[in-house]
Assembly symmetry: C2
Homo-oligomer: 201 residues x 2
């Protein structure tokens, strides 16, 4: 049992490093197997296809992202709007560290695959969309608290949370395209000023 | 001569439709040739590689984007901040029209390839980065006019232009991932409120 689950985890882990850096189209099952030290026949014992592996990988990737970045940054003991600044610094540190290791800024694993595959693979598009909504929920909860505390007024917390997420995805796109982690610290803080007014404003 | 340049244009045009919708990795030279009605041997008469075709395609794509969207929206006779609203509506209309034709929202042709290829192809990454800077220059010129006219104060026009561009790239990423053009009209207008303060503010 241990060896079996270990093989599955090795495949997920290799797929994650390779696909996050270079995208879905550029990475094949053979390369994922080679990096994992797993024979191709065994791959299909665990996953019927690269698509199935990618769907499972996205879930484990969200779980690490949630436990390592989202949950610590969006701790309810931190004042609501400060949570976004903490999140931004954690994002920057993660991206800068990956750049040191690989020479390339990886960007958002969810946004990257969403853009690459939206018109090609409906199940991956839907998976990415659902992960973006789970991130949005953290942002929205912080904004709702800021509204309750009176530090934000007349905003639509859900739409503002989506706009803030869109902005951070855009900042990561610019940072990856320029291959410079500093872009995250230069442009990122403007996320705090993004507002979508509540209906009727 | 006419037939020769016509073949080259057909190749560029097919690559543009196929790659904008499905990305670089998912589209091969054979498919581009088939759609253009060009034999594979002829392809290599015009372009040494898919990479070379893509670099030429990005330039023609920027030229159409500039003449059809950027120049009309950023007309100097329009008040500076209104230019962004005009641009947003043109972006929406283009994306909605493509969705009607293909069933998929294409997103930004430059941002899509920037994210997909940043860690794979340095010359395409640099080409996309230079195109994003050319778009940023239109935004920046409008912001500088708004500052001169006194309708914006204490902003860094270059950094604000980059932040606005990052936001619109993020909005297109969200719209493509949700496959809904309405996202552009829902989230887009918040671009007008994005500010990066000038140094010392």
């Amino acid at each position: 049992m241990d060896t079996t689950s270990d093989t599955r985890l090795r495949l997920l882990d290799s797929a994650r490093s390779l696909i996050h850096l270079r995208g879905y189209g550029a990475v094949g099952v053979a390369e994922i197997c080679a990096r994992s030290g797993v024979r191709k026949g065994s791959f299909y014992h665990f996953f019927p296809s690269k698509q199935a592996l990618t769907l499972a990988m996205l879930e484990t990737q969200f779980e690490s992202f949630e436990s390592q970045l989202l949950k610590p940054a969006f701790d309810r003991r931190t004042p609501p709007m400060e949570r976004f600044s903490t999140f931004l610094h954690k994002l920057h540190d993660y991206q800068a560290r990956s750049m040191t290791e690989t020479g390339h800024l990886p960007g958002c694993p969810f946004g990257n695959l969403g853009l690459e595959l939206a018109a090609q693979d409906e199940s991956i598009r839907i998976k990415v969309e659902s992960i973006l909504q789970r991130i949005r929920a953290y942002f929205q909860a912080a904004l709702e608290e800021a509204v309750e505390q009176g530090s934000l007024v007349d905003i639509d917390p859900r739409a503002t949370a989506e706009a803030m997420l869109a902005y951070l995805e855009g900042v990561l796109l610019m940072a990856r395209t320029r291959n410079e982690a500093g872009v995250i610290l230069d442009l990122g803080p403007a996320v705090l000023g993004i507002r979508v007014a509540s209906a009727g404003q």
